[in-house]
Symmetry: C2
Subunit: 130 residues, 2 copies
DNA sequence: CTCATACTTTAGAATAGTTCTAAGCCCGTT
DNA sequence: AACGGGCTTAGAACTATTCTAAAGTATGAG
């Protein structure tokens, strides 16, 4: 459950973090923005400030519970799936869909510049209506 | 030259657009941000407002002369190379390096959701020092 | 060449997402 | 129960970007 997961990640299980973790990790994999999560937690009748939502998303990301996905210049998405996978990005709706890592492969990446190591390879398949 | 290129793209060759196009398309492929280009044009002793730099970058992108690259949540990059290629992103320095399209390949992309068509596949190889 | 007009540029204000501040709160330990 | 350090929060601040509306300018017609 949420409390144990937080403790294991070295994060004090405060009311706010437990609430947010509950929403984020309840069911399936999810993609949220700070604002969407803030709305959702408010909808659930819990009061958590937007600043705390931002803090929490970053702490969870630092602890490896979330992964930040950069696909849109105007806002940040966070993904509850931290495993090997990539994304479709529906540009019309600003929505992400996972592509399992087993399905997709990138080949022919040149060796990185001297003194650099590959941190991650991100693939974004941008799709539009029609 | 810049003037002809602008006319061909259906853009009136104003002093500002000609100056910016001159800087952008003079030599090799380049990656700029609005701010870096604004600094550069100022350095060259020309006065172009930041708003015009933004306008121009977007108009050039709309005309197919530039391509916007989304790799960083906090700012937009524009690439003078509009051909098929991908990028290394040096996270420590906020710098982009092209990976030629012949070198890199993505396979196993599932078919997009119903009613959607693939617009573009972007690969970002994030690298860090050491 | 001159003019009219529509398109451009610009300074400054406005906006949106995000981060910061500092004051009070609360979790875990003693 | 009390304490101490981390946590939360409202609101201000910040930053990249976009908007506004007023002044400037390229272009085609005459």
């Amino acid at each position: 459950m949420a409390t144990a997961r937080l403790r294991h990640a070295g994060l004090r299980p405060t009311r706010q973090r437990v609430e947010l973790a509950g929403l984020l990790f309840k069911d399936c994999d999810r993609h949220v923005t700070a604002e969407s999560l803030h709305d959702e937690v408010a909808q659930a009748g819990v009061k958590v400030s937007l600043a705390t939502v931002y803090n929490t998303l970053h702490q969870f990301t630092g602890a490896g519970l979330l992964r930040q996905v950069i696909v849109d210049a105007s806002r940040s998405y966070f993904d509850t799936n931290t495993g090997d996978h990539q994304h479709f990005f529906l540009e019309d709706e600003g929505m992400l869909i996972d592509i399992p890592g087993e399905h997709i492969a990138v080949s022919g990446v040149p060796s990185p510049p001297d003194g650099m190591a590959v941190d991650r390879v991100d693939v974004v398949v941008r799709v539009r209506r029609q």
